[in-house]
């Protein structure tokens, strides 16, 4: 795993919580994609992606998130994002992705909303 991108994965029941730290750009997006494959392999009902430790996300990272969103939507699962820093939030806002994703302010809020 690259030093530039690190993950944490917690599962509680059918909820998977992925923590992402570092940078997601074209050189690390493949790692992010692999990590999401790992998460989906267990077929969770809901996935929370915590971006609090994320420093930077390029369009390549957005593409992986978009894939995840399309997948959850197709399989009737839920996908929530949380912990967006102002920089990341701006990327989401500018690109219009804010409208596509369900975004919570904190991880706990995301977890409670995911299990609701």
């Amino acid at each position: 795993m690259s030093d530039n991108l690190r993950f944490t994965l917690e599962r509680s029941g059918s909820l998977a919580v992925v923590g992402v730290a570092g940078r997601i750009d074209s050189s690390t997006s493949a790692l992010f994609e692999e990590q999401m494959e790992t998460v989906f392999a267990e077929a969770p009902d809901a996935v929370v992606i915590d971006l609090e430790q994320l420093d930077y996300m390029s369009s390549a990272g957005l593409r992986v998130l978009l894939m995840a969103a399309k997948r959850t939507k197709a399989q009737g699962q839920r996908l929530l994002l949380c912990g967006l820093s102002p920089n990341i939030r701006e990327v989401f806002d500018i690109s219009g992705f804010s409208a596509i994703f369900e975004i919570a302010d904190s991880r706990s809020e995301a977890q409670s909303r995911a299990q609701a």
């Binding site: 390029s58 957005l62 593409r63 978009l66 894939m67 399309k70 500018i94 690109s95 219009g96």
Partner: protein
């Protein structure tokens, strides 16, 4: 060459041989020379001893002969003395019997004695107690005071006679007579005295002893002659010789002819006469050699001598020889040794060179092989060098090295083959990418200024992909006489997938623009087409604008594209236009996009860019940033669109420095001027 292993081996052997040979020769020469000198010395001393022995033998013989003759004479003298004594006693008996008086008897006895002829050189005489002759065959000598004469020991004859007769009854006295008969040159005489108390006188019988001495001298002379002959034949070493001289430094036998001049010479070093040096050496008797330098054979010649002294004759026997001759055999031997050693050394060095070649030759062949290695064709499978294969069969370290070389060559061939394959593949991909790049460039407008006949718009754009091909795009064209369509887009990620998606997007925009004039509707169509079958969730942020060049009004749609910058002509600060119309194209199917519009004032410039500019990283991972771009756009107000594009790109490159370009960069600048085509033509 001097640092080569071969030369060092060779030099090592050479030094060892030379060192060993040198030590052996030096020690041999010294020992040989000393041994030869000792031998010559012994020989010289032996010659001396032999001669001394010969001389002393001869001399002893002579002495014994002399003693024998003297004893014979003595016995004769004693017999005569006895006869005279008996005769005198007979005359005395005449007195006792009364036939004659004392005086008559004495007179008769003396008369008899005077007439007595003893034969030869012997004399009989009578001497009074006072030492006067009263009877002698030579009547003229009667009355002479013989007793006053000194004997050989310095006493008077009378004294010596009285002492002898008192102690032994007779006396022997040797003296030199002043009165010498004609024809005789030696006056020495030997006298036998006896006492005749009856007549109160001494009877003496004397004889010359010169002939005895002469006999001995004749013997000595004969001896000298024999010696001179035999000594002259003695040869010491080559030209050395033996000679004899006496205590007066006169030669008894002469030195060899070639060296006869040395007798009168002095030693070059000490200045002492050579003969004196010999004498001193003979006197000391320590057997040490005398070293001296004489002027002989036309120059100074170093000589050495042994001298012994023969005391009875007062003779010095000297054996002398030129010093060079003593050490000459040693030198000759050493010279032969040097010659032999030189030959052995030469042969050894040849062998050493051969062995050094045997050892280092393979190394040199390996070195030659290694030097040839780079010139070989590694693209073909190697069959290996014959020379290397031969070397590799050896069990020595060199063989190991050769096998390592062979292994290295094999690995090198494999690796180079693999590298060649990789390179070919890479070249193929590169070549394809180059073609793709050309194709992608062909998709973009490339004639600037694009509308020279249209003074209302100043438009310039540039695109720099981070790799060969990129996912950014821009485009512009007139939809009709008054409406200019411009678009800037950025496909997610970069590289070949993005480039394909970019080409599709551009085509879709173009086709959508042909059907409808509303950007929002165009965007919805493009989005639906892109989203229709998009498993990899590729998407493209897109800004599509339509400028009416008569009014400056811009109708546009922004699907997730970075907010464009408006640089107002009236001097207000440039600002981002942040409204968005919806998500990027391809993200979600069936989305409807908000229709946006913007009114440009004459001279206003619209700057549309992709995130490759604001997110350009420098080596310290710092982004170029929105603020810097905004500030730079303010500074560039009033510049031409081309100037703005060029300056911004330069500034971004300056920021990036050595850092790799991480994303595609696209920049489009559009300035609108409110001039009618007619007015423009007038200008």
């Amino acid at each position: 060459m001097f640092r080569s292993l071969r030369f060092q081996l060779f030099l090592g052997i050479f030094v060892i041989l030379l060192g060993a040979g040198g030590i052996i020769m030096v020690s041999t020469q010294q020992q040989m020379e000393q041994a030869l000198i000792d031998a010559e010395n012994r020989a010289a001393r032996n010659v001396l001893n032999l001669i001394e022995l010969q001389v002393s033998n001869r001399y002893r013989e002579l002495l014994m002969e002399k003693v024998r003759i003297v004893a014979e004479r003595r016995s004769t003298l004693e017999q005569m003395g006895n006869v005279i004594t008996a005769t005198f006693q007979a005359y005395e008996r005449l007195v006792e019997r009364g036939y004659a008086s004392q005086l008559e008897a004495q007179s008769l006895a003396l008369e008899w004695a005077s007439r007595m002829d003893l034969g030869g050189s012997a004399d009989a005489f009578a001497m009074t107690r006072e030492g006067h002759l009263i009877a002698h065959r030579d009547r003229e000598l009667v009355g002479r005071n013989l007793g006053a004469l000194p004997d050989l020991k310095g006493r008077s004859i009378l004294e010596a006679t009285e002492e002898g007769i008192t102690n032994f009854g007779y006396a022997y006295v040797i003296y030199e007579d002043e009165v010498v008969p004609a024809g005789v040159d030696d006056g020495r005489r030997f006298a036998y005295f006896i006492d005749v108390p009856e007549f109160d006188l001494y009877i003496g019988i004397s004889d010359r002893i010169g002939d005895v001495e002469r006999y001995v001298e004749t013997g000595v002379e004969a001896t000298i002659e024999v010696l001179a002959e035999s000594v002259g034949q003695v040869q010491v070493v080559e030209t050395g010789f033996v000679f004899i001289f006496d205590r007066d430094l006169q030669t008894v036998t002469s030195p060899a002819d070639w060296a006869s001049a040395m007798v009168g010479q002095s030693d070059e070093q000490t200045g002492q006469p050579i003969m004196e040096m010999f004498r001193d050496a003979g006197q000391s008797g320590d057997g040490e050699a005398v070293h001296y330098t004489a002027q002989l054979r036309g120059g100074p010649l170093e000589m050495e001598a042994y001298v012994s002294y023969f005391r009875p004759l007062g003779w010095y026997v000297a054996s002398t020889v030129p010093t060079d001759e003593i050490s000459a055999p040693a030198r000759a031997l050493v010279q032969r040794q040097v010659l032999i050693f030189a030959m052995v050394l030469g042969a050894s060095l040849l062998l050493a060179w051969f062995f050094a070649y045997k050892i280092t030759g393979p190394l040199q062949r390996l070195a030659a092989y290694a030097r040839r290695l780079p010139t070989q064709d590694f693209t073909t499978a190697g069959e290996g060098s014959d020379a290397l294969n031969r070397l590799a069969r050896a069990r020595s370290e060199v063989g190991g090295l050769a096998r390592a070389f062979g292994f290295m060559e094999g690995e090198l061939r494999d690796n180079i083959q693999a590298l060649l394959n990789t390179t070919r593949e890479k070249e193929r991909i590169e070549s394809e990418l180059n073609i793709a790049q050309e194709i992608q460039r062909g998709l973009l407008p490339k004639i600037f200024p694009p509308f020279p006949d249209c003074p209302q718009i100043d438009l310039h754009a540039a695109l720099y992909p981070a790799r060969h091909v990129g996912g950014d795009l821009f485009d512009f064209y007139f939809l009709d006489e008054h409406r200019l369509l411009f678009t800037v887009g950025d496909v997610a990620d970069k590289g070949v997938p993005s480039a394909l998606f970019m080409a599709i997007t551009k085509t879709l925009v173009k086709s959508a623009s042909g059907q409808d004039a509303d950007p929002a509707t165009m965007m919805e169509r493009v989005n639906n087409d892109l989203s229709a079958d998009n498993p990899s969730a590729m998407f493209v942020t897109l800004l599509i604008g339509i400028l009416d060049i008569r009014t400056g009004r811009v109708e546009y749609v922004n699907a997730g594209q970075n907010p464009p910058i408006l640089v107002p002509a009236d001097g207000k600060d440039p600002s981002f236009i942040r409204e968005i119309s919806g998500p990027p194209g391809g993200a979600i199917e069936g989305v409807s996009y908000r229709h946006l519009s913007l009114q440009l004032d004459p001279g206003d410039t619209l700057v549309v860019f992709t995130d490759g500019i604001t997110e350009a990283m420098n080596p310290a991972n710092e982004e170029y940033g929105n603020d810097r771009l905004l500030a730079l756009c303010g500074q560039l107000r009033g510049e031409s669109a081309e100037q703005m594009v060029v300056t911004v790109v330069e500034d971004v490159n300056r920021h990036s420095g050595d850092a790799t370009q991480s994303d595609d960069i696209t920049l489009l600048c559009l300035t609108w001027q409110n001039v009618s085509p007619q007015a423009a033509k007038d200008v």
